[in-house]
Structure formats: C-alpha cells, structure tokens
Symmetry: C2
Subunit: 324 residues, 2 copies
C-alpha cells in the first residue's frame, strides 16, 4: 500500500521536477487524473521525497573593508556584504538575512541577549533557522511605543527571537519616553520593570540597529517626541542613535533634556557589554554609523559595501574634527 506509493511518488516527482512535465501530462501518461497527480505531488513533498535545498551563495564578503573597519574602529569583527543596493527595502532584507546566518556564531555561549528594534532587526528574525535550542534570555533594550504596528513592538521582537532560539524572554511594560524625569524614576523603580532594566547590566550580547536621528525608525520614534525635543536634537547636531541614545558624528553623546526621560539602555552601559552587534546600511545612515563607530558603542558591524565605503571616506574626510 504505502510501498506502492513510495515508488510511484518518486516516479511522479521525477517526471514533474526532473523532466518538467506538467501535472496534466503526467496524469495522461499514467492514466490518472490531474488532481490525483497534484495530490500525490503534495504528498511527495510532505514525505520529503522532494527536497528543495537552497545553496547559500559562496559567502563572498568584502574582507578588506571588514579588516579596515576592525582596524580603524577597534571592532571585534565586521561583515560587509558586497555590492550596492539601491532599494532600501532590498538592502534591509539582505542585511537581515546575512545577520540571521551569522546569528548561530554570534550567540554561541551567550546567556543574556539584549535586542533592539527596527525593520532590519525584524527581517533578521524572519530568517533565523536554528537547529538545537539555546538556553538564552532575550530582553528588550528600551521601552515600547504605542503608535506603531504590533509586529514592530519591542516585546513582540524579543518574543520572536526567543522563540527562534528556543530560549526565554522578558517583556518590558514601560514606554520608551516618560512624561518627565520624575515619572521615569517612578516607572523604572517599579519592581516588574526594574527586573528587566537591571538586566542591562549583565548582558552578554546586544543586537541593535543604528538610527539616523531625524526620521529614524520609520520616524515612529520622532512622531513620539515634542517639537522642542526635535529642536534640541537638531541643535545638538545629532548624527544618529543606538538604543534611542543620540550621539554626534564624532561619537560624543548628545546632552539632551530628553535623555532624562528616556527609558533605554545607556551608551556607557552598552560599552560594557562584551559584544554589541549593529546591523545597519544605506547611504542615509552614513553619518549615524560613523558616529556609532567613533563612539565605540558597537563591537561588530553588519553592513554593505557601498555604505561602508561611504563611512570610511567620510571618516578620512573630516578626521580633523576629532583632533580639534
């Protein structure tokens, strides 16, 4: 019964996938209806008789750029995808995929993982494919925002990563920005929230995006803050942010009143994490990435060739600022 099927399924699969006959043609040849062939093919796929494998393109990477990044900014590592991507959408997906492929190496031996949020991070989560479960705990690196789609919610992202890794996660039930410094203090001292925030001091790994201040994160974050805050940011010449913490193109943290209300992992805290992986690319983020690198906030960068070239060029170009 089943053995008949085995050979038959294999035969049909061969005719369909190897000889590229249509289901109708196979049906005619075998004296079976097209529908039957269709269902048998489905069964063949289910039973694993047909195995579709995707060969990852021989990981061509821009080793020289990676080495230069490491040298120049004291990184523990870098991965630079070759080529130039004109579409932001495509680039995000490519970087997300690349990050997902690297993830097994990155999380190896890690217990507490902090996760940022953003579209590229989400793309990464969509492509994670891990065999054995890892006993990790995933925590968000900052509070949430209510005015964005559910799938971008920090808690949804940590949940997703934990699920993909087979570990646990901690959700944060605090806003990324409190109404006042006092409100922040109150919120952060709340036991449930404190237990998450306290974990920021004992992370083994943080995975973050890099925002380019004005219009960052689909500008959802920017929509959250007041006009005065925006002016502050502009005046401070913020080049970008990591974990919502702004810094200038030299890597100096921006002194903003906003900071006192932020419920987010701090830059100095971040520097103490053994491994901070940033995923970021795109011409618009050039200044932001450069700032993050100069500030030594990140220790591993996943980006693309065109962007990295821009970053390195910009670094050469206005290196005098640093000396000044």
């Amino acid at each position: 019964m089943t053995t008949v099927n085995d050979k038959l399924l294999y035969l049909i699969a061969k005719l369909y996938y190897e000889q590229e006959l249509t289901q109708q043609e196979i049906g005619d040849q075998l004296g079976l209806s097209r529908f039957k062939i269709q269902r048998l093919l489905t069964k063949a796929r289910e039973q694993g008789i047909v195995r579709i494998e995707l060969v990852p393109p021989t990981d061509k990477r821009c080793k020289h750029l990676e080495a230069e990044l490491q040298r120049t900014f004291g990184l523990k590592g870098a991965v630079v995808v070759p080529g130039e991507y004109r579409s932001e959408q495509v680039l995000r997906k490519v970087l997300g995929l690349t990050a997902a492929e690297l993830l097994p190496d990155l999380i190896d031996g890690k217990r507490n993982i902090g996760l940022g949020c953003g579209r590229t991070i989400l793309e990464m989560l969509n492509h994670i494919d891990i065999d054995e479960p890892h006993a990790v705990t995933v925590v968000p690196l900052f509070g949430g925002m209510e005015n964005i789609e559910p799938e971008f919610q920090v808690n949804a992202l940590v949940q997703k990563l934990a699920a993909a890794l087979g570990g646990e996660y901690r959700a944060i039930y605090a806003p990324v920005i409190a109404g006042s410094a006092e409100a922040r203090a109150t919120i952060v001292s709340d036991p449930m929230i404190k237990s998450v925030v306290d974990m920021w001091d004992c992370l083994d790994l943080a995975i973050v995006g890099i925002g380019h201040s004005i219009a960052t994160y689909g500008s959802a974050f920017m929509r959250t803050i007041s006009e005065k805050d925006k002016d502050d940011i502009t005046n401070a010449e913020a080049a970008g942010d990591v974990c919502r913490q702004m810094f200038s193109i030299t890597g100096e943290p921006c002194k903003l009143e906003l900071n006192s209300r932020l419920i987010a992992m701090g830059l100095e805290q971040l520097k103490r994490v053994p491994l901070v992986v940033a995923i970021a690319g795109g011409k618009a983020k050039t200044r932001a990435i450069l700032g993050a690198l100069r500030g030594r906030y990140i220790k591993f960068l996943i980006s693309d060739e065109a962007t990295v070239r821009h970053v390195l060029a910009l670094h050469q170009e206005n290196a005098h600022i640093l000396r000044a």
Copy 2:
C-alpha cells in the same frame, strides 16, 4: 554586480521556496515587479542556488521473493518491486525507473550490450542518469518493423541507450521477419547487416523484455505476421517470447516455420550471454515470464511483487508438466 544578485537571488529563493510567498508578494515586499521576481527565480534555479533533489524511496524490495526466484530458476539476481500495480502504464514506468536505477551496476565492466525493444525498455531509457561515460557498444537484438512509431524503432532505442551511456551503437537495417528463409539468408549475409548480427555472439550483456505472444509489444509484431503464423503460434502453445523467439510455458522453444524467417538473436545464443536482464511485469505476462525462467533464457529479472507471486504460484501449480 553579480554579487548583488547572488545574495538577492538567494533571498528571493528563500522567500519563495521556504516561506512560500507568491512571486507577487515578494515583488511587493522588495518593491520589484512580479516579472522581475519571476526572472530572478529562474536565474536562481539556473545558477543552482535552488537545488531540487529527489530522494529515492528507501529501496524497499521483496528480498524473499528475489531469493526464491534466484534459487528456483538459477538466476544471478532479481529485483522485485513491492506492491501491486493495477495500471499497466504505471507498472511499466515503475519498472523502467527501477531498471534505470540498476543500470549502472548492471553495465559495470561490460563492453558489448544487446538491447531489446518494447515499452518498458523505452521507459527505462527515459530515466537513465549516468555521470561518467562508458565505453560500450550497443546493438539491437533483432531487426526492425516499419509499422510502428519512430520512438519504438529498435535503432532509435539503441541510439538512445548509447547516448545515455556515452558509448557507441550499431544500427540494424534489416526487417525482423524476412519474406522467406532464402531471403533471410541473403539479408543476413549482407556485410553491413552481418557485422551487427555477428555481434550477437560476443555480447557481455543483453537487456530484453518478455513478450506474451498473442498481443505482444502493443501487438505491433503480431500485426506484422500472417494468419498462418498466428495459427502456428497458437498450436505450438507459445507462452511468450524473448527477442521474438517463442517458447512454451515449460520453457521449450516452439518449433515454428516462422523461425526460419526471423532475423533475431536465437535462444541458444542468448543462453551463452553472461548476463541477460529481463524487465517484465503484469499479470498478463505470468505465463511468458515463467516460460522464460524455466527455459533459463534470462539470468536477471526485474519485476513486481504481484507478478512474481503469480509466477511462483503457477510454477508450483503445474510443476508436474516439467516432470512428465
């Protein structure tokens, strides 16, 4: 340039084959047209980024039946596909496929290969998949018929096998039945034909079907012969044929006037070939297969469980005929 594509192709392939999005959905996500996705997918397949592999069903075989066949009829080997196939069409394809898979083992070290003709043989040829070329010479085992489709022509079949194996072939330009014994003699002594016919004495391997006389080979052969010949065959109680040579259910060659006109490898000649592989199955061929086995004309049988059970049962049942 190409490197951009590599990652992108892989990404698209992943979305399509792993996440099972439609081409349209992928296009929307990436901001590319459906057509572009379509073409990139084609390219991904061409470049081997998508690899579709067919896992042959764990070669479940009826070892016990194979052993019994070997023991009972002194075969060098047998392969019995499990199950019962109600459709002749399906059975032919399954047997052809099975034979094609066995072929590499069967031809190993062989130089001169004789090939019969028939629908199952053709199916086998359709599935041959060999890596390195074999230095073989393929010859037909009997003459041709003009009243059948071109793809069933003996010369087409030997050509096809030779092509699949990467070897050479000899075509025969003689009819399977001459008009008279004298005509046969003349034809066979023609140098070009003789050189092929002479090879029947130095074959290392023959691959044949088994016909069940009346209505054999889509009855094309039967349409070729006269009414008197048919009566002769009926009177001689022919059970089947190999290479057009008729025999009874006991395996005795039929003494027919027709034989004197046949341009086909003889049964005694066949017995001298080190390895004769027959591919045959189906209830209707029970008697024919039994006759071929009893006559020891074949040394290797590829068939199916249901048929073999019938054959063995029939053998037990009328074994007394042999003793008589």
